[in-house]
């Protein structure tokens, strides 16, 4: 008389796994944030995300390439673009190219794009001002300086 192998009831495990999948599907955000992890933003208690989503915005990440110990590999800050890192002085042709694209997509319109500047805490403010000036020269008027939302102090 051969004994049957005991059957394992898989139902509770499958229940748990489906619960987990549902959780991950709900919390996941596929929207590209355009944020670069190398940029360590400063914190501010009153920096709040805009209540109304902006019509059009471009995120520019400015920061340093750092060694594992946190020291800067190069002294000057870089603009982190998709796929490559360029110095601020090299940004003019890229700004012009972006503007050409914008004008093709929005013929006859003024520039409504907001330049969202995500800058590392240690970037010199002069470098950020230089970058703003390059955008201004092409006609951009709206800028937003990004900061990490800090929990209010008790």
């Amino acid at each position: 008389m051969a004994m049957d192998a005991p059957e394992v009831d898989m139902t509770p495990m499958i229940d748990c796994v489906f619960q987990l999948i549902t959780f991950f599907m709900l919390v996941i955000n596929f929207e590209s944030t355009q944020a670069d992890e190398r940029v360590k933003l400063p914190e501010s208690e009153i920096a709040k995300p805009p209540k109304v989503k902006r019509e059009d915005e471009v995120t520019i990440n400015v920061g340093f390439i750092r060694n594992a110990d946190g020291s800067k590999r190069v002294k000057d800050p870089l603009v982190f673009l998709p796929g490559e890192d360029v110095s601020i002085s090299q940004m003019t042709p890229r700004i012009k190219k972006d503007l050409q694209m914008y004008k093709l997509q929005h013929p006859g319109d003024g520039i409504k794009t907001t330049i969202k500047l995500r800058s590392d805490s240690e970037v010199p403010i002069g470098a950020i001002q230089d970058l703003i000036k390059l955008y201004q020269e092409e006609g951009y008027e709206k800028f937003a300086l990004q900061a990490m939302e800090e929990a209010p102090k008790e």
Binding site: M10, I14, V17, F18, L20, I21, F24, M25, V27, I28, N29, T33, A35, L41, P42, S44, E45, I46, A47, K48, P49, P50, T114, K116, R118, S119, D120, S121, E122, V123, P124, I125, G126, I128, Q129, D130, I132, K133, Q136, E137, G139, E141, K142, F143, A144, L145, Q146, A147, M148, E149, P152
Partner: protein
């Protein structure tokens, strides 16, 4: 014959492929999940005509001067001719000075007309400027859990290049 009939009546589904898929899905979601801390921003309007440092004739200007050392750290924070220090208390004082300058009424006409010009040394770290902009923009009200806005217009003075 009877046992064969019972087997036909209750086909046992093979759960293995489904469990495989479900685990694959779970691993995918776990790996792609990224908890992003909330970010906020400070809007700055700088049309080319009203470039960095160009005064708006209707606005009442408040000047905030920020002096840095060679490493980009804050040495002195000043509002007008008043020195406020270089630590966290300096920004608290700046916040108080701004409130006084708008007549103690956030959201009032002075709040809308007043413009703050931030004049910082070229190499000053961005974090100090964000602290100054925060102090000028307003404060977080613990009671209402909202931001009380003091100033809406903030601009930069032209960059002070080293050696200028």
């Amino acid at each position: 014959m009877a046992s064969r009939k019972a087997e036909l009546a209750m086909p046992k589904p093979d759960m293995t492929p489904m469990i495989d898929c479900v685990f694959q899905l779970m691993i995918f979601f776990m790996l792609t999940l990224k908890f992003v801390q909330a970010e906020g921003n400070f809007d700055i309007n700088m049309p080319i005509g009203q470039s960095q440092g160009t005064a708006d004739p209707l606005a009442q200007d408040l000047k905030v001067r920020m002096i840095a050392d060679a490493n980009g750290n804050l040495v002195s924070l000043q509002m007008g001719s008043r020195k406020l220090g270089n630590d966290e208390r300096a920004f608290v004082q700046l916040n108080g000075e701004i409130l006084r300058a708008i007549g103690g009424t956030p959201g009032g006409p002075a709040s809308k007309d007043t413009e703050v010009e931030i004049d910082a040394d070229y190499n000053l770290h961005y974090s100090y400027v964000i602290s100054a902009i925060s102090a000028c923009t307003g404060r977080f009200d613990e009671r209402t859990k909202n931001v009380v806005r003091y100033i809406e217009k903030i601009k930069f003075a032209p960059p002070r290049r080293p050696g200028n």
